[in-house]
């Protein structure tokens, strides 16, 4: 039974400000077809910004998940036309945390929920940190607080955060690795 499939049709049923939702149909090489709920998302980046002693995290309300105080790595959506994940990561680190970095290493990228959604997140490790000119400038509808979290207490951040990209980032830091070969 082959897992190869082709897209038969794709229908957006609702367009929001950031996402769209609808249905896609696929046909396998053996002829069977399946219908799947689908959410289209522009993708996002997350930044693991560390100095010798700490990782920079944020706290912010996440209304959709009913969290007043979500602990996360700095992050943002790929919502600027033509912007690469790396450019987006530089921009978000400056806007959310007020920092720039000399060194940017790709860590890994992943799908947040690949059963129904095409959202993909690119993680970068940012080092060589210094204050960005102008300081932090969050979007008007964001309420972001910055937290400099000690690296020797990453365990407690993993215990507190319930955000997938942040858990991947912090577990990756704990394993002490230099990047993932793909």
């Amino acid at each position: 039974m082959s897992a190869r499939f082709e897209l038969i049709d794709s229908e957006v049923r609702w367009r929001g400000r950031i996402i769209s939702a609808g249905v896609e149909r696929f046909r396998y090489v053996d002829g069977e077809s399946v219908k799947r709920d689908k959410v289209w998302h522009p993708g996002a980046v997350g930044v693991i910004a560390t100095d010798e002693h700490a990782v920079w995290l944020t706290r912010q309300p996440r209304e959709a998940a009913r969290l007043t105080d979500s602990l996360e790595i700095p992050a943002g959506k790929l919502d600027v036309e033509g912007e690469s994940p790396l450019e987006c990561a530089r921009r978000e680190l400056a806007e959310e945390v007020g920092l720039r970095a000399e060194v940017w290493d790709p860590v890994l990228d992943f799908h947040t929920s690949l059963g129904f959604c095409d959202e993909r997140i690119w993680l970068f490790h940012a080092t060589g940190l210094s204050p960005a000119p102008g300081g932090a400038m969050p979007d008007h509808d964001e309420r972001i607080e910055t937290v400099r979290w000690p690296l020797d207490r990453i365990d407690s951040a993993i215990g507190e955060s319930t955000d997938s990209k942040t858990l991947i980032a912090l577990l990756w830091l704990l394993t002490g690795r230099q990047g993932v070969r793909r």
Copy 2:
């Protein structure tokens, strides 16, 4: 600037088979209101099933993300009325991989994409494995292959998988921890 908010209204604009999509509005204690795209999802479980030498993984097509061969931990949606995450995890391990487990330890739970979606995934560590009566019985529209992956090659599974729950599970195994305090 407080991060506390209340829900003002919640409107489903499209209902799929598994998810719904629409818009929610919230008001902060300082009076400002925000409108957010929202996807409702029933939630899911993931199982980290290990014996002394290996972790049990699956390969399957993921049409929404255009993957023919996604490497993942056994998992499934909370789509049976009244079923707890642990009961769902037992059922999915039997259905997808044909195994049962003596010991079930909660590992951690997280939101896949908390900017717009309420999906939450509960991860369990399953040990004391033995064949389930009847063997694997995947749903009729699933094409799942089982892979017994050596624990000393977890690095290469992390390099291959692009699935958030699987990366969290495998990084957690690498850090060798016994559960996360919340």
